[in-house]
Subunit: 375 residues, 2 copies
Amino acid sequence: MPVPTFHGRIQATYGLTLSSGESPEARAKAIAFEQTVELPPERVSHELVSGVVGQVERLEPGEGDRWLATISYSSTLAGGNFSQLMNLLYGNISLLSGVRLLEVEWPDDLLARFAGPRFGLEGLRGLCGVEARRPLICAVSKPLGLSPRQLAELVGLLARAGVDIIKDDHSLADQPTAPFRERVAVCQKAVEEVNRSGGTSAVYFPSLGGRPRELLDNVGYLQETGCRGAVVIPFYMGLDTMAGLAADSDLVLLAHPSGSGVFFDPEHGVAPEVYLGQVLRIAGCDAVIYPHAGGRFRMDEAAASAIRSNLLGELGTLRPAAPAPGGSIETAALVEWLDLYGPDSVFVVGSSVARAEDPKAAAEELVSTVREAFV
Amino acid sequence: MPVPTFHGRIQATYGLTLSSGESPEARAKAIAFEQTVELPPERVSHELVSGVVGQVERLEPGEGDRWLATISYSSTLAGGNFSQLMNLLYGNISLLSGVRLLEVEWPDDLLARFAGPRFGLEGLRGLCGVEARRPLICAVSKPLGLSPRQLAELVGLLARAGVDIIKDDHSLADQPTAPFRERVAVCQKAVEEVNRSGGTSAVYFPSLGGRPRELLDNVGYLQETGCRGAVVIPFYMGLDTMAGLAADSDLVLLAHPSGSGVFFDPEHGVAPEVYLGQVLRIAGCDAVIYPHAGGRFRMDEAAASAIRSNLLGELGTLRPAAPAPGGSIETAALVEWLDLYGPDSVFVVGSSVARAEDPKAAAEELVSTVREAFV
């Protein structure tokens, strides 16, 4: 068999939590074989070992009793789709324990096969007509259970208050209380009316989903209705579905992290800065909602900061995606967050507006807080 | 707002690991709100609380310091697709810690919206021409790195040895060493030749994936080539994609658990008997590969047994799916497994045949072991 020519190698660093007496060398080697040929070393030919099996590039002690193992894989093994890319990086080893994917270096030839965000942060700014270097403000149309008319009123109110992006709560789907098409039509109309009368460019992003045929129909409906983006759940909808939407839908994809928390165990899984910060960007998400540190979800400051750096930093020729911190952001505490995160952010303020006695006043306060911080 | 009429309720039981001093009542209530209206209780109207918010139905102490909370959700909240169904059952709470979905009771009106397996265990038996009450034998075409010709030789050898199903290793995608179309064509031809000359009905299931358009093309190619099924990775490809394939492709879907291990933390995530045993069946997988207890992956006997019961047991009018234990099953130990699992199984024997010095003899021994056990 001719040994294929491989151009780039993915460098994947795993944190290993070993059982007592376990050899870090043996563990790292087992992962390199498991994730590629899925055979024990003694039955793999020399040609396959050198051409196909992952190579342990570095092995060093980490914090406490953990070890860090960097394993490189030929980028051609990812086979051109995201399910295989993730299967290569974190497939069978998910069924073990104490293996956490901490960091990935992506070779250019791999990144070149994936287009990344179609709009990204700058495209989203352009759509919302926000040229100033200030953060974008995203408020949420919620909760599940309201009628289309009630949701459209809230959407209109938020747009009039000066919010840039109004997104559906990600739990809004096609429920009888507010069927998808009916809800989208009236909410989009509400935003357009505000824009027309006020000269603004607010956008409404409905929650989008569905089995493949229905998803295509729903995308078509959003395009007809004039929606420019949608809220999606990559963890459950699948990364290849994201890439398909990015390539074909012309919608801004605002990714919600629902479900993805199962990746974020401290000893096992995939680090949030890899999954939310890199993988979703490579898969074409234009903005990625993530739990900010100190909110009601599990996220520390180092990880939140790394998600942000990865979404914005250099990654081949891929456009930067917008970091969208959310999860219990209170307007009262926002000044501090504005200072910490700076202008390249989309602040997702959901319940603190939706639960206010006077949502209109709460939304106006939110908008003026952000604008005054970036005069 | 009129309170909608709800017909069925999903009963979801979560295991809660509490921090010291935390109230189980408050924790359960917080989950019921988080997973539906995503608002704190004080700002939700009475109508929404009674019609939309999850209801805590039972709360009782579990093992150790854990609690069991059963929360019911109106089945209409799932909104007709799997991403929303999973978002409802295990969405934002994935971003917390110490919340594990242990058990789900599915109301009939929900199950009626999802078709489940198109073939199931009996359909698969029929395709393979195995009417006898014996387990089906599935061997694996591997490893990644072999050429199409080498893989086709192995496929032919396995078919001649009397294996019922020969599946691609799930890491075979569209890599340069064995491009998808070329590999599928020669492997399918190899099986057909053996069937023609030997009067057998072995089937070859290639590994299937791709971004949405490419996936459709690949499905079309499998149909043209005469393949009757495929290996899929539901965790990464997405459950709605599974349901789409089940509805439209006419392929037997053999689900591989790659990636899904991140769900299976003992304190957080989704129990394997729910995800692998119920959710994948509802999403249309005909056979589900799962790690058998005592193999190289993390799985205990109780969970393995519950996966099996859930795949085979009554679930609305859905067809039973085939339990397919795998992961280091050795022919030598198979007699014990045959006894334990009985005839309604697909035994996936991968590396112990592929790594044998003489794969032909190993496959023949495997086949005769199974047939002799079920004379």
